[in-house]
Amino acid sequence: MPIAFRFDPVALPPACESLRKEVRAFLADARASGLWAPAGDFATNHSPEFSRAIGARGWIGMTWPKKYGGQERSMLERYVATEEMLVAGAPVAAHWIADRQSGPLLLRFGTEEQRLEFLPAIAKGECYFCIGMSEPDSGSDLASIRTRADKADGGFRLNGRKVWTSHAHRSHYAITICRTSSADGDRHAGLSQFIVDLKAKGVTIRPIKNLAGNLDFNEVTFDDVFLPLNRLVGTEGAGWQQVTSELAFERSGPERFVSTFRLLVEFARRVGANPDPRAAEALGRLTAHLWTLRRMSLSVAGMLQAGEMPNLEAALVKDLGNSFEREIPELLRLLAPRGSRSGGNDRFEETLAEAVLHAPSFTLRGGTREILRGIIARGLGLR
């Protein structure tokens, strides 16, 4: 049996390079004008002002049909705009989930009414989504969730509790997966997705402080929250298939390997144009790895553009990429004897501190490394 993964080479068309220039110019101007400053990564640096500004430029929902507020641009153009923002450390967190996940979900499975209601607002950078998946007793084992939506007059009543819900306190809606019927026989059956209005009666959002001291994720409790029928996404009971059918979108992008790229940049700044051999070796090695990962990731974007769904390839990119973004601080700290520090005035030390403290989340969010390796093993025919 031949090896089951495939990465077709991709060449970026000229439209991508002119877009890249536009994005860079915008980022530089907007930074100079004080709209944003580099910090964190796609999941932490949150700014509605920034999201509205790039929404106005057509850089959210770029690939969507124009009638839903999109620009009908290619996946590769979206890739280029996205990578430029990510490596710069721009604050994309507010619109990130809606742009990457919720919008595409509604495009594929949503009703026309849902698309018209939400997509244009998302594309403007005005409407933010979060994702309600994990629960206190359900992490990687998503099918074991206990949050339930039971039929009620004109819709459903939602009860249960979600945790690690990033930016729930700053979002308007949560795409929430819950049980709508019991798991008799097939535990993947009976799950459904809903658009939950986070201002609705019965929704309680409590922040959970993370180890870095930040308040990014939350516990979200649903106490008899009424869900009108028109907030069901796709088919009742098909939530599992809906969630797992498009994982390549969320697992293959640059956000899976550039989370600590700015540390590499600050390291290069610190060691200068003529680094000593140890520093040069580290820089060269990381550069070669980054080049390879980006080519892998672009290849997946090219396959997505061609209408394929390379979930195995995406799992390979995410696990390798997460290892890489964790390795950057581990390698570079050895070359910076005074280590990390916050509150000082040293950009390298500050970025190192942030990278070390956030690194544990890289291999958890969006699929743990163990789950990804299980998917890869399945792709190899081992399970």
């Binding site: 090896i3 700044r269 060691v271 040069a280 070796e281 550069t287 390798l320 890869i376 081992l382």
Partner: protein, 345 residues
Amino acid sequence: MTDTLVSDAAERLFADLATPDVVNAAEAGTWPAELWTAVTEAGFLDALGGTSGGALDGLGDAVDVLRAAGRYSVPLPVAETMLARWLANRVGLAPPEGPLALAVEGPEDHLELRRMGADWQLSGTARSVPWASNARGLVVSTSVAVALVAPVGAMIKQGKNLAGEPRDDIALELKLDARSVAGAPMDADAAVVYRLGALFRAAQMTGALEEALQLAVTYAGDRVQFGRPIGKFQAIQQQLALAAEQVAAAGVAVASAVAAGAGDLAFAAGAAKLRVGEAAGKVADIVHQVHGAIGFTHEHRLHQLTRRLWSWRDEFGVESAWALELGRLAASQGADGIWPFLAQR
């Protein structure tokens, strides 16, 4: 020819003629004449340069042949002859038929071609020149010129790499007339040839890596312990997943360097060699662990792949050497230039 045609033809040819017995016999000293003739007649040795002999036409075909050769542990100087023929033809020196060796002025080997009136003086030493003792001709590449030398002109101390492939030391102190020497154009000087050598080794390694992974996956499905195939255990699955990641990265690195072609050899060839070299060590570690003791025997074919991986990762620049060079290149862009530098690749 399209990529698939060449790689399919090479796969078929090597599957037929580069059997594990032939590979072992070659290591024991029996030149695989039938295999060599078939490789020659298939036209693989002229894949690079194609008919134009100009830029890097045919690089994709050449890499496909070498990947297949790596998969079957082809015990012949295919990469070396291909590169030496391309270089000789490129500068207008007619290479002899038969296997060729290539010595390149580089970080480890000091070779010099100097004009002496109408003639040239070739001097220097090169260590571990692949297949020198089997070659009908030796092509020497320096920053200044290219020379074609009869192998008797080089003093040879024979040696072998970990896979038993000839790696011979040569010392050269020769006067050559102008017919055997040509100036090195910028796109075919020693730095370019060395990078192509690195890319060719990386291509061979990707074939060996894919095959080693395939052997390990197959073995994990067949070998039963504790009442089930060992591939059903998560401990084994996770290890093989890690190996697959490395194999995938290696394949993409080489394919990307090929796609970049002559336009970005300075970065991409070294980056590919570095990335594939790292993968080689990691994958060899895992596939041996999965195979257990049977993989440590001479009888099993795995060592034909892994001994080559361990050898080839050291040739044409070990990972750290490329890291140093690429790091200096990256640093010279300035901190804020690193991303633009990468984004255009």
